[in-house]
Amino acid sequence: EIHIKEPIEKEVNPHLLPGELLLCEANMVYKYIQEDGSNRGTYGKLICTNFKISFLDEDSASDDNEPQFKNKIIGENDITLQCVDQIYGVYDEKKKLLTGQLRKYPEKLIIYCKDLRVFHFCLRYTKEEEVKRIVSGIVHHSQTPKLLKRLFLFSYASAAPNNTDGRNQTVMFDTLEDWRDELERTKGNVKYKVVVTNEGYRVSEKLPLYFVVPLCVSEENILKFQGRGIPIWCWSCHNGAALLKMSTFPKEQDDNTSQMQKAFLDGIFRTISNPPYELLKREDLSSSLPSLQDIQTAYTRFKQLFLIDNSTDFWATDVKWFSLLESTNWLEIIRRFLKKAIEVAECLERQHSNVLLIEESATDLCCVISSLVQLMMDSYSRTKSGFQSLIQKEWVTGGHSFLDRCNHLHKNDKEEAPVFLLLLNCVWQLVQQYPPAFEFTETYLTVLSDSLYVPIFSTFFFNSQHQKDTNMTGESLKTQSGPFRFLTVWDWSVQFEPKAQALLSNPLYAEKPKPDKSQRKTTRFKHQRQLSLPLTQTKSSPKRGFFREETDHLIKNILGKRIGKFIINSSDEPHNSFREFYDSWHSKPVDYHGLLLPSIDGPEIKVWAQRYLRWIPEAQLPGGGTIATAAKILDLMEEVQSLQVKMDEEHSQAVSRDVQAVPMLRNSARLSSLFPFALLQRQSVKPALPTSTWKDLEDEDDLVKRDDEFVDLSGDIS
């Protein structure tokens, strides 16, 4: 049944990180190559450490085909404990979810990962003792509740030598200066100020040490309700309108308290509605957007569509793919968040109104909307360092509970919700709609989403700045020489070599032009509405009085109540202002450094194929996909750069130095569409063929049975 190479009992040593400890291991584990439903695979050793689950086969020792895009921390057969989504055991061909104590040990182990990889391990040839140890070890370390201090983050930080400070140009927002600079950058300092009230976390453990509030808000007010009910500044728009967020008061309160709270809020609103502040529009996000529960439910269903066991599975779900996608509701949720962000942008941009986002804790939906609004309105946040600073500002320092939302400690499943992933999914929509507008690539977003589960960076492993600060020192001081020094995820050199990092930068990015704006305008492409084949734009012809009355009347009728099937989107009033805003923006050419609004029509919201399909062999196009064109651009850029070098040399008449641009993508013509992920072992030329196709067309039965043209042929033969 299984045809394999003779297992070689070769000692393969696991690659362990500083602070990483081997906890258990099993030999003679057979890993299936998830490819064509065959039983092909390799023998090797399965290990579990305090950081990862890892499969070591003899091939992994050879470095012959070193992948171009390699993660230095996580190999292709490594799964960090936090990356494990679900573990199934197979007993007599039946799949059972493994969670806690096990009475029986399975013959096969299936591990579904949060980055959507699926691993199949056969344990039939493994010693029983080892099976017991490895299965219970894996389940215990990856699926059961854990103490924060037991996260690998801490072992690594204490053991890793001389951690680099990889802040690059990312603004961390943990100092007063960072906030002052941001205020200055956005010219928000006229009406807003940084406060130090929370030093020592006097106000709240959820709030950062430093934050920004309207000038008129007093320290006393901030302290009164532990920072709740206080508008906190996120960002200021070029016209002075600001984006603010506010957490609400806890609901169950006696009348007295709620009266007090109401009065307090009224006071706050009154103060900030006075000059120099203007109109304030309040947006209660919890009532106008899907809840955390909705997001979690949708994503749970959605990801299931990509955790494919085998080829049969793939083609079986292919038949009803669109309705399956729709039924998860995930794309609809993305659409609704993008739409809300456009609405907020409209208030800021067109109505010059301040917008106050309101949410219970102001650390979930608020983060998504405020980040999206800034990405749409502030081209700085579309650069790599700008985006990273934005994530620091709104999410990390902003107090998004990464630990709980990712359920890293398996403490409370009910707290789990992929809010940050939702943001990345929304950003991806923008990136794919406007490729030249972003300095980073979709690959950047994909590896960023993977980094959510790599516990050597502190970035995504605390609920708040307070939690990080208190755990950085604390007891560890007794045993350690000093406070932990954690790595930040923004130091991409920890995970990737320079040549892999190059794939995170967008070669299409249209860098902001420096001074001569006038010249740029003329060379820019003029957007045209395409109404017919060859479109001729002409100046309007001289007016004639013809039909004036009729038209006017007609237009009134049409724009009035009686809007038929004729005018798109004829729903309610606020909706129209949103539409109008979008349409008027849309009718102009895109300025990649200006306001950027996503199109949210059905066909425009797509599945982030790179993240979700990358491990599925059936979905791969050898030599195809968007990477095919991207690779050509990279190759050409490389050529242009080497020409530049040569020109330099000619100019200086210097002797040819050996300056070479980093060779990017060799043989790029044949990259798989899944590049840089799932580097195909599959070199077969066999096309992927659907194994199950749809056939029935119940509702059109009579048509189906008809012949193309009804001609009786029986007469022809005589």
């Binding site: 083609w315 793919w321 669109f322 729709e326 709609q433 490729p435 030249p436 320079p498 190059a502 967008n506 070669p507 509405r529 084949l533 001729t536 734009q537 002409t538 309007s540 012809s541 013809f546 039909f547 038209t551 009347h553 007609l554 237009i555 009728n557 049409i558 099937k565 798109i568 989107n569 849309h586 009718s587 029509d601 059905g602 066909p603 919201i605 599945v607 979905a619 195809g624 996909g625 095919a628 050509k632 020409l643 020109m647 000619e650 100019h651 980093v662 990017m664 013509a669 096309p687 992927a688 063929l689 659907p690 056939k695 048509l703 189906v704 012949d707 193309d708 043209e709 042929l713 029986s714």
Partner: protein, 578 residues
Amino acid sequence: GTNWEQNEEIPRLPGETRVTDKDVIYMCPFNGPVKGRVYITNYRLYLRSVETDPVVVLNVPLGVISRIEKMGGASSRGENSYGLDITCKDMRNLRFALKQEGHSRRDIFEVLTKHAFPQSHNLPFFAFANEEKFSENGWMVYNPMCEYRRQGLPNERWRVTFINEHYGLCDTYPSLLVVPYNATDDDLKKVAAFRSRNRIPVLSWIHPENQAVIMRCSQPLVGMSGKRNKDDERYLDIIREANGQISKLTIYDARPNVNAVANKATGGGYESEDAYPNAELFFLDIHNIHVMRESLKKLKDIVYPNVEESHWLSSLESTHWLEHIKLVLTGAIQVADKVSSGRSSVLVHCSDGWDRTAQLTSLAMLMLDSYYRTIEGFEVLVQKEWISFGHKFASRIGHGDKNHADADRSPIFLQYIDCVWQMSKQFPTAFEFNEQFLITILDHLYSCRFGTFLYNSEFVREKEKVTEKTLSLWSLINSEKSKFTNPFYTKELNRALYPVASMRHLELWVNYYIRWNPRIRQQQPNPVEQRYMELLALRDDYMRRLEELQITNNSKIPNSSASSASPSQMMSHVQTHF
């Protein structure tokens, strides 16, 4: 008609003549009513708005019109209720409101009807009046003999026959056919008697290495009684043996099994195992022309004028359009894979062998032969597998015919072009042509400006002297090739290109089906393409300068002030991320 002569800005082709013009209100489905003037010629309907900024322009070849209806009567109330409603073949409708007095509508209705449906009024197509001049002659693109020679034919196993020179054997086939060397013309005549409309199995393509072939034909006339024909059986065996393999011949019947069985009732059917023991038959489950027509109709309902918003995905699924595309592609992949693996030759048919069969053979050929992925190669492919082998363009499109409800109409060729687009989307560097090329072909599939797609067969086309009296669409395209060229094209020889026929990769062709909707952003030119072109220009510029520099340096003339732009200045043009 006062405006006409002075208005130079109204485009007119040589040979295009004015007919009438009129003040109307264009009921734009996206921006509401627009006051304007409509101009009608023997080729197009042209509208220009007045008093609007920007000017709204409609430029519609009359050939795209499928149906013209009057809406409202003289006594109708409401301003927008009286006028004309025009249904187009290219996924849009046009509605004009007219003044409700005098017989203002009657004239324009009659003029439009007459010129939009010339065949119903004993008038010639505009293609016969078109006097355009092009630098290239598209009629020279396809020469069957050259194409077969390119494939290495004739050879010792395959011969060219002129048996159909005067269309005596089969009036829907081309005059020149390639058949097995070991089959005589007499054999062919006998086989023709057993194949629907005499469309005998003939060669479409031969694999340059393994000599396996793609054959096309119509269904055998088996009938209820299960007739057999010794000549047909022997003929298929000759085909099987021709590639030197001993394996079975693979027959792909494009239809669903049930339909093939049902065809027996009208005298058709399929090759039974008993009669053809050396053949293996597979059904590809592709539905008939009526199902495809209804599917496209449903698609139009969800994209025009409004894009279905709330349940886009399930609405799209319920049109089945992409599922049909998936089945056609799946079938073609199977054909291509069978031939490419060299295991056996393949025979493809459906009922008559001019709809589904053409889709399958031409797609399989596109997958197997990189020549067809060039601009000229694709033109040859269309000319060969579709036009010369009698895809009934006249009936399927209804050129110049007022009978909009004709059951013969069906978007089979559109579906094929969509499949090609899907492939080009999956493999963006494999095709020499771009999206604009495909859209242009579809636009002129309806426009009747060129003779290329007119009439049902080579036989009729010859009778109508199409090549003498009309222009070819390929003249237009080949005269400005750069407009239709994909800058990313990378020439690769002999590489089989298999698309993935999964719904995960199939996409609705928004730039075609939803192009009239101004809300759907069409980034033209595509920013990725634009960036690439910029880089290409920059590279060429650098190479030129470098060459100059080298010449200067070699002649040892110090250049202190000669060059105006320093390299560091130029450096800023390219961002360096490395």
